[in-house]
Each structure stands twice: as structure tokens, then as C-alpha cells.
């Protein structure tokens, strides 16, 4: 049966094959245990680093694979997510942490911080969220006050993916209270800098293999050369970061949904009730048919957005919000249906689909809730049509 032709390059096919192998050989045997024990996949990430995959999104001049291709990276995330998004988020969050440096960093900052990330020797994390600031980035309370050749940071970040595990953090803090979102700046903070501590590790509904921690800054001293771009550019950097990170979350949705579809189809073939495999029932076939169509549509949209970004297009906020919104809603829907296909067995932890359903929920929440995605898309439409109607 023909598969969708997405015109992938040789490298992209190679990436798909190698990550699929890795996911099946290395991740599948441990995913239930990582979930059960809420254990960070340290060894798996190290191996992904050795396989050059941590450098997929980093240019060759900073020791990355130089592909500068969104799609290369997204394919890797998708294949990992097919088996476990707790692992794939730990992998992808490195890019989220590194993106502000890639987008707004000086050459010196890039030379210092990107090569160890590209080689997988160090990991990164992005720190925006606070108890009172998530979707509303203007509500950030962490402060950075300039003192001589240092900024002094004070405040608390919460729910930081890879918190405690990462070495390099891109942290948003207010440098000018009066200017609201325009008074936010972005800093590179290293693990071990004086006054930088980690708080509690969160217990979560899903993606339990990933580490989610508090970052605590108590008179944390950050050298002024670790300011990214200029003072006040933090919010813009964050938004540009989301433009290129949201397709990664979409890829998690596509992979997770595909994984759930795989499980559902295989189970439905084996499970015999009333003397025949349950897949022989039209009611179930229609469910699977809908799931398969949703997955392929989500993939097509996600790849299309990646290609647009790879072509060098500017202002991709609407498109990247669209693929994040659609693919993650699909993931929630398809994983829920997969549990239904499994019936009572689907509800049991012995089978993989209940974890998939628990995991899926976060995709509709992080990197901007799907309500925020609709806001982004809606606002873009307002601008787009205001411009054309004149």
C-alpha cells in the first residue's frame, strides 16, 4: 500500500530509520518503567547525543549537523514520540532552551554555548513560566537588576522542563518593570552560578519520565555578557522561539497519535469477541479509519509548516500555531479512542495506551495552551484581512 510521499531527503529518511530503530530497541523496553518510577532518561539522552541527534537543529559552524532544517528535527521528535513522549520532550526541550541563543545570541555567545549542546555533552532548558505568568508572559515577576558587570536575578520559575538536568538555561526576567512585556530580557544562566538553585520536582499526570522542576534565583549573579540580544528583547525572543518550537510539539502529537493507532490496530486484530476479531466490526473499523485519517492530516500539516520555515519564511506564528493546535488535539482524541478500542484492558497500566492518553493531555497545554494557539491564529487573521481589505 502506498505511503504518503512527503518528498523527504536522503538525510531525513536516514534520520527516520535510525530514530525508529533507537525508539524500538532502546526506549520501548524501558518506557513503562521510566513512567512508573518517574525517572529521567539520562542514558537515552546521552546515546541520542552520541548519535549526533542533539545537533540536528544547530548549524555546522557550532558543531551541529548543519541541516538547519526544521523538518529533520521534527522527524526525529515524531519517531521518538511514537514510543514515548516523556523521552521525546526531554530531547526536544534542549532545542527550546537553545533557540533563544540561536535566534538572539551574539557570535561569541553561540560559540560558547552551542557546541556542547550540539554534541550532547550538555543539555538546555527554557525558563519562562512562573506561578503568576504562563500564557501571560507580561506577568513575569523574576527580576534582573544590573550591578556593575553583573545582573542580579531574584525570583522563581516553575514547571521548567529539564530543570535540574540541564546545564544551560535561557531565563526570562524583568529588567524594566514600567515597560510590561517590553521590559522583559532573556539571560543565559549556567547551572552552578552563585545564587541559582533548584526547587522541588513535580509529580505529573503524564510525561513522567521528563523532569519538571522549580528554578530558584536568590541574588543570582549573571555576567552582563550573558544577556541575549538587548534589554527588553526577552518577550520578542520568546515569541520567536515559540514560532520554531511549536512544530516540535506538533510532531510529538503526530508521533504519539501514530503510536496509539499502531497499538489500537494491532490489538483489534488479536482480540476475539463473539467468535471473530473485533476489527471485523464495522463500528470499530470506522473508528480506526477516522484515527488514521486524523494522524495523516496532522502529519501533512506539520510537515508543510516545517517546509515553510525551512524555506526561510518570516512571520510563521499563525502556521506554527495551527500545526501545534491541530496535531495535539488529534493526539488527545486518537489516544482516547485507542483506550476505547482496548476496552477494559486499555484502562489497565499493563497495556501502553492508558499512558499514551495521560501523556497526550500536556500537549494541549504546554508551549502555549491550545486556547492561546487559537488566539495567535485569530489575531493573525485579523491582521491579514485588515491588510487585504483596503
Amino acid at each position: 500500500m502506498a505511503e504518503m510521499e512527503y518528498g523527504l531527503s536522503e538525510t531525513q529518511k536516514e534520520i527516520r530509520e535510525m530514530v525508529r530503530e533507537f525508539a524500538l530497541e532502546r526506549v520501548l523496553p524501558v518506557r513503562a518503567e521510566l513512567d512508573e518510577k518517574e525517572e529521567f532518561p539520562t542514558e537515552l539522552l546521552k546515546e541520542l547525543g552520541r548519535m549526533d541527534l542533539m545537533g540536528l537543529y544547530i548549524p555546522a559552524e557550532y558543531d551541529g549537523m548543519g541541516a538547519e532544517s526544521m523538518l529533520d528535527f521534527v522527524i526525529a521528535i515524531e519517531e521518538l514520540s511514537r514510543i514515548c513522549i516523556g523521552v521525546s520532550v526531554s530531547f526536544a526541550a534542549n532545542a527550546l532552551g537553545a533557540d533563544p541563543i540561536l535566534i538572539g545570541g551574539s557570535d561569541a555567545q553561540k560559540k560558547k554555548y552551542l557546541p556542547p549542546l550540539a554534541k550532547g555533552e550538555k543539555w538546555a532548558a527554557f525558563a519562562l513560566t512562573e506561578p503568576n505568568a504562563g500564557s501571560d508572559a507580561g506577568g513575569i515577576q523574576t527580576q534582573a537588576v544590573k550591578k556593575g558587570d553583573k545582573y542580579i536575578l531574584n525570583g522563581t520559575k516553575q514547571w521548567i522542563t529539564n530543570g535540574g538536568e540541564a546545564d544551560t538555561y535561557t531565563v526570562l526576567a524583568v529588567t524594566d518593570k514600567k515597560r510590561g512585556a517590553r521590559g522583559v530580557s532573556c539571560f543565559i544562566v549556567e547551572k552552578g552560578m552563585p545564587g541559582f538553585k533548584f526547587g522541588k520536582k513535580e509529580k505529573k499526570l503524564g510525561i513522567r519520565a521528563s523532569a519538571t522542576r522549580e528554578l530558584i534565583f536568590e541574588d543570582c549573579e549573571v555576567p552582563t555578557e550573558n544577556l541575549l540580544a538587548k534589554e527588553g528583547m526577552g518577550f520578542i525572543l520568546a515569541m520567536k522561539t515559540f514560532d520554531v518550537s511549536r512544530p516540535g510539539i506538533a510532531a510529538q502529537g503526530v508521533g504519539l497519535a501514530q503510536g496509539a493507532l499502531d497499538e489500537a490496530c494491532n490489538y483489534a486484530r488479536q482480540r476475539v469477541q463473539f467468535g471473530k476479531p473485533v476489527i471485523a466490526n464495522q463500528g470499530l473499523q470506522w473508528m480506526l479509519a477516522e484515527m488514521a485519517t486524523q494522524v495523516e492530516a496532522a502529519r501533512a500539516l506539520t510537515y508543510g509548516v516545517c517546509r515553510t520555515i525551512d524555506s526561510g519564511a518570516k512571520d510563521v506564528s499563525k502556521l506554527s500555531a495551527m500545526c501545534k493546535l491541530y496535531a495535539t488535539d488529534v493526539a488527545m482524541d486518537v489516544t482516547t479512542k485507542a483506550v476505547q478500542v482496548f476496552g477494559g484492558y486499555g484502562f489497565m497500566r499493563e497495556y501502553p495506551v492508558e499512558k499514551m492518553m495521560r501523556d497526550a493531555k500536556i500537549l494541549q497545554i504546554y508551549e502555549g495552551t491550545n486556547q492561546i494557539q487559537r488566539d495567535v491564529i485569530g489575531l493573525s487573521l485579523v491582521k491579514e484581512y485588515a491588510a487585504t481589505k483596503k
Partner: protein
Amino acid sequence: MHIVVCVKQVPGTTKVQINPETNTLIRDGVEAIINPFDENALEAALVLKDTIGAKVTVICMGPPQAESALRETMARGADDVVLLCDRAFAGSDTWATSYALAQGVRALDKVDLVFCGKQAIDGDTAQVGPGVAEFLGWPVITYARKIEIKDQVVRVERVFEDGYEVIEAHLPAVLTTVKEMNVPRMASLKGRMRAKKAAIKLLDAAAAKADVNEIGLKGSPTRVVKIFTPPRKTSGVKVDGSEPLVAARELVAHLRNQKVI
């Protein structure tokens, strides 16, 4: 340091079929993989490359299709790969294979260490590693699970079912590796891209200076007369030994019944 790893391509399934007429494995339509123990051998060599620095050459005797196994080893980090390939090698038993591989090793630049997997999962003889060492006239240490190299001496933990012994040998030497030695790495993206394009060095019997009377069917003293799946053993009789006198009587009765005594 120059390390050579010998690998074999084997059928990647436990459900192998045997051709009843030729008594050989049916390889058509069966996915071929690198013999798993040879993957441990390769990993051991690559670890040495990473830690003390070495050139790693992988050698494989087999048909042209074995190229895929060699490319996989290159993707994982082997510097050079050599395919010992010649119709004259076909039908070699473990003796002729050991000879051919030893000739292959001789044809390479000065070699310090040869790694083989402890055995191949298709033939399960575990003879080729020691055989290669014999033809080369080098010491061999089988079932290595841990190695250390210092001043041209290799120190090896040689593992048994119930323990291990520590043995040293002067280089050059041949080692065969067990599964618990390491976890084979997965190939890197750069490695895979490089391996795709790399040229595979071919070594035929003449280039390996192999005596045609010592290789292939002609050079193989072993003849496989018959291959069959042994019938399942029925479970035996267990004699309770808590009362020695009773147990002994019962045992003797059984043996008499079976006309053993």
C-alpha cells in the same frame, strides 16, 4: 594500535529453515544481521578507539550481500572495512574459515589485536576465534568480558558460568567476547551518511594469498552428514533424597527396571 574485528552475517531469526538435501541453511528471504556477539566484539574495539586511540578495521568473509553488515559497522565507527569475497571461499567450514580470516588479517597493516564474537548464532561452534589465533600463531583468550591494555599486554577477565579468571597475554593476540561485556552503540547520523558512500575493500583469495587447497569445500575437513531438530526430551524421574536409604533403594529399582544394572 590497529585492531581488527571479525564479523559474520547471520540470519536474523530464530526460525531458520534447513534445506534437507544440502543440509545447509536456507538464507533466501531471511533478513541478514550482524552476528550479535560480533557486535560486542566491535563495541569492545570502538571503546578502545575512544579511550586509548586505535584504528579499527572490520573484516568479514561472505558473499557480496555481506557488504550491508560491513557498512553498519562503519556507521558505528569502524575506520576501514574489508570483505573477503571469492567463490573459492564458498562452503568453508570452521577450519577453512579460520584460515581464510587469518590470511585476511595478514594482508592488512600490522595488527595488534583481533576481536571475534564468542560464537556465531547460526553455527554455534565457537571455533573460528581460536582457529584464527592458531593460524596466526598468536595467543587467544576466549569469553572476554573485561579487558585492559597496558604496555603491549592485554589483561582479560575470562568468564565462566560460575566465575571468572584473569589472564594476561602479550600482543598481538586474539580475544573472543561475550554479551555481558558491553552494550553495542547505535550508529551516529554522520557515521551512517559516511558509511553509505564509503567504498568497501574487496579481498579475493589471491589477494589474501590463500592457498586454494585450504579454502572452500576443498579445504574443509568437516562434512555435515545430517542436520535435524532433536526430539524433545521427556522429563526424567526425580528421586526424593531426604531419606538416603529409601532413595538409594528406589534408585536401584529404577536402574534395574531400565536394565542399566
